[in-house]
Amino acid sequence: MTDRERDELFVRLRDADPSSSLPPADPAGVARLLEDAMSHDTMTETRGTGTRGRSPLTWLVAAAAVALIVAAGVFALLPRGGDQPSVASPDPTASDPTASEPTVTELTMPAAAAGRCMVPTAQMLGSAAYAFDGTVTGIDAGVVTLEVDRWYAGGESDLVQVDQASADLNALTLAPIFEAGGRFLVAGTEDGSVMVCGFSGPYTAELADLYTKAFAA
């Protein structure tokens, strides 16, 4: 008998423990819990908390910066959906040299694809002109903005803007449906069209492996 056991108040409190009738967790539930927790790999979470804590002011400033760049780059831009993906770079002489303003690459979703999807291979993916790992920072009027963590191929910009896929396109071609805050791997062809059929999608270890293999050389 411990000291506590001799303590009347302790025993009375302990006996009133509301969890005393709680049955043990079912093993399937525990497995699911752990799977869910660990599916957020450390990298993603660091990014997640990094942006979650930002004040609305930070976002406002960021949004203003993006708006400025889009406005400044308007002359350099090709129309959306043109033959080349448009890259707007701020004119270094025109902007404040101390401000590192993000650059934007624009990609489009393909029109509903004719033909069938093939199993994604590293070799096919390796032909992509653009490929990056990025996090969705905003979705506005069907245009998704991603902040690029890493370019595997093609681009150099800080941000990418891409059309949100329709549910139909997603059903037909597995075109990714972007979600705010989500981490995605996205590949695009020479003409700035997103590669669908499983080449682009939410970040998973498998897809990341495929990207690593495809762009290893």
Partner: protein, 182 residues
């Protein structure tokens, strides 16, 4: 812990720790403090934070640290629920804030009443002491205060709880004797 540890080994290590030492006590911790649906949500949030901050988990005594995480996650859940309720109340003009359901499985009504009359921080100290059965040093980890402060406050909280129980029982006795004279 080295950050160059292989991810699979790291996962296995976390899984083993979570299964053996964290999940069951955390479930109980949350069951004691909130409704089942919130407890489920907060448990997964807590595990996520523990996984994310695995390197900070103390090797020798991870549980009090994890209780501290659960406490913060629960506080966040309550705050956001209050926000949602306020919003819902404004929109629907029907304010029906849900009370935390009565702690289930306990028949000691006097004790729960008395506990409810203490300040929240005092009640929490007593819960950590008697339900989680932590030592003052462990409670100090959960609450992020010094063990010394815990010991002193715990002593005070115990006295207050005893006094509250005394008031209730005296009141009950009084009513009973009144009833008896009629």
């Amino acid at each position: 812990m080295g950050t160059d540890e292989h991810p699979n080994i790291r996962r296995a290590r976390f899984e083993e720790l979570a299964r053996a030492e964290l999940i069951e006590p955390l479930r109980r911790f949350l069951t004691r403090r909130t409704d089942p649906a919130t407890a489920d949500d907060v448990l997964s949030e807590t595990l996520l934070v523990c996984w994310r901050r695995f390197d900070e988990l103390p090797d020798d005594a991870p549980l009090p640290w994890a209780y501290g995480v659960a406490r913060n996650c629960l506080a966040n859940a309550r705050r956001s629920r209050h926000r949602q309720e306020r919003l819902a109340a404004r929109v629907a003009a029907v304010a029906a804030p849900q009370e935390d359901p009565d702690p289930a499985g306990s028949r000691d009504v006097v004790l729960h009443e008395a506990l409810g009359r203490l300040r929240e921080d005092e009640a929490e100290l007593l819960r950590l002491w008697a339900w989680e059965q932590l030592t003052p040093a462990e409670i100090a980890t959960v609450l992020d205060v010094t063990p010394n402060a815990v010991s002193i406050r715990l002593l005070r909280a115990r006295e207050k709880l005893k006094a509250e129980i005394g008031k209730f029982e005296a009141g009950a006795g009084h009513e009973q004797s009144e009833g008896g004279t009629r």
